[in-house]
């Protein structure tokens, strides 16, 4: 009885292609457009899979939209071009799921605040923060929902091969956007984000350390239970999300470390940092689509 919501993907690179592969398994989202700026391998692959493609960028999507409309547009390009993409796409009435660190729309970390975003009503643009944010903010929130966190800091260590030029050209965007989301979504009074890039071969699986400084003495039992519950939530869309330690509790410091292994759809498994972005983006679209469907059927 359900018809899948349609989606376009802007950016046929590694992220866009991985997202496409995840969409193909989705019960709620069907990718119907792949948008690029040249006849790349990613565009060709999408065409082979039967998607509409354009090499005219977002304008190509706009031109073909009335004949072949979509409900969602995933932007897997860069923060530099996202603003224009978003303006053009939202004018058509589609919802933009922003995988760049542009952060025009509200931040979305699915297990933490997606429900709240859905309850707020239709959204034109949601921002998926950063890979480091998706991997760590659920843990910050897991602590801050137990007791006040005065300061939270995350260190994301990622394989060099998993860091694309978009991130490299503007690594400060990563730092700023993640720090801001640690505060706004993670619930810490102050946030800080650090990214370390390691070129070792074979490439290392994404690893994150989350340090929370609590205001009161940490309630170890409640914090552990909250973390375990949150890990389970993240595992619903990223099965390779694993807690690596107890966590460590030392005075007012709670230190959690996690490892994020991807599904290996198109991206290699070590690139859990990219997988968690595409998985979180798709999960957001799926939840929105489900909500729209249920609100339609209840009318």
């Amino acid at each position: 009885m359900t018809t899948k919501a349609k989606a376009a993907i802007i950016g046929p690179g590694n992220i866009g292609t991985d997202l496409l592969m995840k969409c193909q398994r989705s019960d709620f989202i069907e990718a119907t457009w792949m948008v690029g700026i040249e006849d790349s391998a990613g565009i060709q692959r999408a065409r082979t899979l039967g998607l509409q493609t354009t090499t005219e960028g977002v304008d190509g999507l706009v031109a073909g939209f009335s004949a072949d409309p979509v409900d969602f547009v995933f932007d897997a390009t860069s923060a530099y071009v996202h603003a224009e993409n978003s303006r053009k796409v939202t004018a058509l009435g589609a919802t933009m799921i922003d995988l760049t660190p542009a952060a025009i729309g509200p931040f979305c970390i699915p297990p933490v605040n997606l429900q709240e975003l859905l309850d707020r009503g239709p959204t034109q643009n949601v921002n998926m923060v950063t890979c480091g944010g998706q991997a760590t903010i659920p843990m910050v929130a897991a602590v801050s929902r137990v007791q006040s966190v005065r300061y939270a800091e995350i260190v994301a260590t990622v394989a060099s091969k998993s860091v694309g030029m978009g991130t490299r050209d503007n690594i400060d965007e990563f730092t700023r956007t993640t720090s801001s989301a640690i505060e706004k979504i993670g619930g810490a009074d102050e946030g800080k984000a650090i990214i370390v890039i390691n070129p070792a071969e074979p490439p290392l699986v994404m690893r994150d350390t989350i340090h929370c400084l609590t205001k009161e003495v940490p309630n170890e039992t409640d914090i552990r239970a909250s973390i375990a519950a949150m890990v389970t939530e993240v595992q619903r869309y990223v099965p390779g999300y694993r807690l690596k330690n107890a966590p460590i509790i030392d005075g007012h410091r709670v230190t959690i470390s996690v490892e994020v292994e991807g599904l290996g759809d198109f991206l290699p498994k070590y690139a859990g940092n990219l997988d968690i972005m595409t998985a979180a983006g798709l999960r957001t679209a799926e939840m929105m689509a489900q909500r729209r469907q249920s609100s339609r059927s209840s009318l």
């Binding site: 800091e153 690594i171 400060d172 370390v196 390691n198 070129p199 350390t209 340090h211 470390s257």
Partner: protein, 340 residues
């Protein structure tokens, strides 16, 4: 070797790299006092920041006794002749920190990346150059790649606007031939007016020897630290370096005796324990691990009962890079669980 008439810029590290053995607790007053002594000795360039550079204040690396801004303003105010530099590691610090440092009167910005990751430095090098600052690309852990791979990364930094490129031996692992090969190729492939520098650690007691090899191969900026105060077994001892260079005929503009006084009377008294070639430091240099891991490994030893040098060896085995301090506690816990 004869360096007759060669002009060499010696760059002091004790107020930045020296923050590591001090757990970033050098006070503003101590910094001002030491900077004054270095200035009086004619040290042309002094680096000041958190040990991990601008924005390094963190749970992961340690919170400093004062903010970067407080240190920089106080030291810039104090010195008469010396210029002040600041280090910035993209991924830790941002262009906002860079602007702040420039506003404080910093004249040199050193943008540091792991030796294979230079392309994360574009925005910071661009900005530093646009602000008219002396802009250095600082390629860390340079022992982990060949000279050819290092040069490719150096060319990127040069293309972004760096007017000086450093070969940085963060682990104190290199031997003189390693330095010669890297510096010679940098000199050959970079523009003729791009300066080349070398930053050593004394973990195998090669600081001075390696720096001499660098100069012989064409480097003209050399990092050292008064009394050697720096991570691991410390940096190249600056006063020894200056004395050796003077005997070899090079021009540094430094008064050896005044520098020795600065080291002895101003830097040595602030040391928590002597910076020396300890077993841990030896392992850093022998196995090739990032020098500032040392104290983290010691603290993990105290907490988890695992030998610090074993932790450092494991960090080297896992091919860790600068900034991965957070892995040390995890490794210590794993090792402790295995021995139980």
């Amino acid at each position: 070797m004869n360096f007759e008439g060669r002009h060499i810029t010696l760059h002091d590290m004790c107020l930045r790299d020296g923050m590591h053995p001090k757990q970033h607790q050098i006070t503003v007053d101590e910094m001002v006092d030491i900077a004054g002594a270095l200035d009086a000795a004619g040290v042309p360039l002094i680096e000041v920041t958190h040990g991990d550079g601008l924005g390094g204040a963190s749970v992961n690396y340690g919170f400093p006794a004062a903010s970067d801004e407080a240190y920089l303003r106080a030291v810039v105010e104090r010195v008469e002749h010396s210029a002040i530099s600041a280090l910035l590691l993209p991924g830790i610090g941002t262009v906002d920190h860079l602007r702040m440092a420039a506003n404080c009167g910093v004249k040199t910005i050193r943008v540091a990346t792991h030796c294979t990751e230079a392309n994360v430095s574009r925005q910071h090098i661009n900005l530093s150059r646009d602000l008219g600052l002396d802009t250095v690309g600082f390629l860390m852990m340079a022992h982990m790649v060949s000279e050819d791979a290092l040069v490719e990364q150096a060319l990127l930094m040069e293309s972004y606007g760096a007017n000086c490129i450093y070969c940085t031996d963060s682990a104190g692992y290199m031997l003189p031939q390693d330095v010669t090969d890297r510096i010679a190729l940098l000199k050959k492939r970079l523009k003729s007016d791009t300066e080349v520098g070398f930053h050593g650690h004394h973990n195998l007691a090669m600081g001075v020897a390696n720096s001499l090899a660098a100069i012989a191969a064409g480097a003209n900026r050399i990092d050292g630290s008064a009394a050697g105060l720096g991570a691991g077994a410390g940096n190249t001892p600056l006063e020894a370096m200056a004395a050796v260079l003077e005997r070899m005929g090079a021009v540094t503009g430094i008064d050896i005796f005044k520098l020795a006084d600065a080291a002895e009377d101003h830097v040595l008294p602030i040391m928590d324990e002597p910076v020396r070639l300890s077993r841990d430091a030896l392992v850093l240099g022998y196995a090739g691990a990032y020098s500032s891991f040392l104290l983290f490994a010691k603290r993990a030893q105290d907490k988890y009962g695992v030998p610090s040098h074993e932790i450092l060896l494991e960090m080297a085995r896992r091919k860790t890079v600068g900034g991965q301090e957070d892995l040390i506690e995890e490794i210590a816990i794993e090792m402790a669980a295995q021995t139980r």
